[in-house]
């Protein structure tokens, strides 16, 4: 199917029934991922970015209610059998999490964890699986792969564990790699290793990558397109150039301004975003960002702005049409 997205979500909603009430974690989200593309999802904790991806693969908690549609190569995932989802997870879609120890089993050697998916999904025998596993460890730049196969996760450094977790996610050559904050727990020099590894993997295997992060530097380096999420909704979406150089949503602008950058000058004050993210149980009636927004209009408190195109492939959910551009005073 030429042109058909690899992964596609339509009107995806995720709600959690809790004792205090219903929490709307994700509401009415549309998502498209093309073959070989790197899509970044940026947002703060609680913005729904992880839940959106987990819900598509049937990985949400028991009290979740997921509605809408999520398709992998045209096949509906919501309501698919557990057996089918198990086939897709691992062989079609690989997952890497923030903490590599959530995906690595401390009791099993690296070798047995790496070969397990091959033996389950691809029916490989022990010897053939071991050859491929060593090959994959080399691809993620693990030194002495034969010896590492016999080691256990606690014997590796944090950066090596994350590279092993990436090797494990990629071992069945999935078409999509979902990386949920893959570098947040790592030191910057180790983060740079993982970033260059992700770049290499895209070139070598053509894997599409969904990168969930709040680090704008990571996005600037790796992503083709960006979705910005706030309070469970996509508030802006566009190419990485659109988002960084021509952003149209006040939240996207505020995020960029509030992060200190390493440049010759530094701002006198950081342009902080006032207030706090809303409680997902008591979202404001209009735009969720309006209580913190410097460009707020009257209409923003009354109705929810729809996600509308501002140019081909660039959309924003905001009533304000004027130019953005809060100036930040810099000092040398």
């Amino acid at each position: 199917m030429p042109g058909a997205p690899l992964l596609e979500a339509r009107k995806l909603n995720v709600e959690f029934a809790t004792r205090e009430g219903v929490v709307r974690a994700v509401s009415e989200v549309d998502l498209d991922l093309a073959l070989g593309e790197a899509l970044a999802i940026v947002g703060e904790s609680g913005s729904g970015k992880s839940q959106m991806l987990l819900s598509m693969l049937g990985l949400t908690a028991g009290n979740a209610r997921v509605t809408g549609s999520a398709r992998f190569k045209g096949e509906e995932l919501l309501g698919a059998s557990e057996a089918r989802l198990n086939q897709i997870r691992g062989s079609g879609i690989g997952f890497v999490f923030q903490d590599p120890m959530t995906s690595l089993n401390p009791y099993l050697s690296i070798g047995s964890q790496l070969t397990e998916p091959l033996r389950i999904h691809k029916g490989a025998d022990r010897a053939a699986a071991a050859v491929q596993a060593i090959e994959m460890l080399k691809a993620v730049h693990i030194t002495e792969p034969e010896r590492r196969m016999r080691q256990y996760p606690h014997q590796l450094s944090g950066g090596m564990r994350q590279r092993v977790a990436i090797a494990m996610a990629l071992i069945c050559r999935p078409e999509i790699l979902i990386a949920d904050e893959p570098t947040t727990a790592l030191d910057v020099t180790v983060q740079a290793q993982v970033l260059s590894l992700l770049r290499e993997i895209r070139e070598r295997f053509g894997t599409a990558v969904v990168l969930v992060t709040h680090d704008l530097g990571v996005i600037a380096e790796l992503a083709d397109r960006v979705n910005v999420m706030y309070a469970g909704k996509i508030v802006e979406r566009g190419s990485v150039e659109d988002i960084f150089y021509h952003c149209r949503h006040p939240y996207t602008e505020a995020l960029q301004r509030s992060v200190p950058q390493l440049t010759e000058l530094r701002p006198v004050r950081l342009a902080a975003i006032a207030g706090y993210p809303p409680n997902p149980m008591r979202l404001p009636p209009g735009c969720s960002f309006s209580p913190r927004c410097p460009y707020r209009l009257d209409i923003c408190d009354q109705s929810v702005p729809p996600l509308e195109s501002v140019s081909p492939n660039h959309a924003k959910a905001c009533f304000y049409e004027g130019p953005l551009g809060i100036t930040v005073e810099m000092s040398a």
Partner: protein, 345 residues
């Protein structure tokens, strides 16, 4: 007060509030097997600096570099192996516990995890006023309450928050409570140990701005410890770079980016991807090769040499001393050869 002398050139900080001299914190760790000889882990190994009044000194380094141990050693929360921590003319490392306790009202700390550092069974008023209760036992509870409310105002909390409990607050607000508690005694020095690392992106900037404002208001000196060079550089007057318990470089905030002298500082800067796609793609983040050596068996000579692209024979034999190059203090034999403007521009 001993002067900080580096290659015969004193580094002038007039009337420092805090002077740390050749501070070492070594831990004994068990050897291999039952009868293996005990080994020594050098968490902090020869750190010296002066902190001026109303100055912010940033301390940056990756996990395991000893930055948190350094903070704890200054406060007397871990035993100092050798060296001095001079505060107001007294060496805190040699004070008896009771005398050290008296000094603590001048030195306070803000922790990384705001919720974990607040007692869940105390309300905000009790938490913020707790230092007053321990240092001024004769103060009446009304006085304590009114001082607590006043300090809560300074950090952006509302008076009606006083009877609420920590779990009712978000991370950013909880960090404000921790800051109010640290400042209520009007300390001279506050150590901020990763104060914004656990906070959300949109909240970090609020707390960073708050710390800068409070410093201007109270004239407090800050030691701002973090792993994120960009945040550290934003708030600091000077920045110290630590690696494996040792000082690699100490430089004014602008020089640390414009003219980093140490290969490790350069590697740190080059590893940070700029939030600008064109620059990031033209100049992708450069990983630092190799793995962090064990602090139990650090490399001979320069501890960074095993990962340094410029290392030569001499680096393995002779430990580089801190010396002055331009505006910076740097511990590298080759600083003159390797220093060139880096950065991602």
């Amino acid at each position: 007060m001993t002067e900080l002398i580096v290659m015969n050139q004193p580094i002038i900080v007039t009337e420092p509030i805090l002077s740390v001299r050749d501070l070492r914190v070594h831990f004994e760790v068990p050897g291999e097997g039952w009868f293996g000889a005990r080994k020594v882990l050098r968490a902090v190994d020869g750190v010296s600096f002066d902190l001026a009044r109303s100055e912010t000194l940033g301390i940056v380094g990756e996990s395991g570099c000893g930055k948190s141990t350094l903070a704890r050693a200054i406060l007397g929360l871990v035993r100092v192996t050798s060296g001095e921590v001079c505060f107001a003319g007294r060496d805190l490392a040699r004070l008896a516990p009771e005398q050290l306790r008296e000094q603590r009202c001048h030195l306070q700390i803000i922790f990384q995890d705001p919720l974990a550092s607040l007692d869940p069974r105390m309300n905000v008023g009790q938490i913020v006023a707790e230092p007053l209760r321990s240092f001024f036992p004769r103060m009446t509870s009304q006085e304590r309450q009114s001082k607590a409310v006043e300090m809560m105002g300074h950090v952006g909390l509302l008076p009606e928050h006083i009877n609420r409990y920590p779990h009712e607050f978000s991370g950013g607000q909880a960090q404000r409570i921790g800051i109010a508690r640290a400042l209520i005694l009007r300390p001279e020095v506050v150590i901020c140990d990763e104060p914004v690392s656990a906070l959300d992106v949109s909240i970090k900037a609020q707390i960073v701005n708050l710390l800068v404002d409070l410093q201007a208001e109270f004239g407090v000196s800050l030691l701002f410890i973090a792993h994120d060079l960009a945040s550290v550089r934003h708030v600091s007057h000077r920045v110290m770079v630590l690696y494996l318990g040792k000082m690699m470089e100490l430089a004014p905030w602008d020089e640390i980016y414009r003219a980093p002298q140490h290969p490790y500082t350069q590697a740190l800067i080059q590893a940070i991807p700029p939030a600008d796609p064109r620059r990031a793609r033209a100049n992708p983040a450069k990983p630092l090769g190799g793995e962090l050596p064990s602090p139990i068996a650090p490399p001979s000579g320069c501890v960074f040499r095993t990962r340094c692209p410029y290392a030569v024979e001499r680096c393995a034999q002779e430990e580089p001393l801190l010396r002055r190059v331009g505006e910076n203090l740097v511990a590298c034999h080759l600083a003159e050869q390797v220093s060139k403007p880096v950065g991602n521009a």
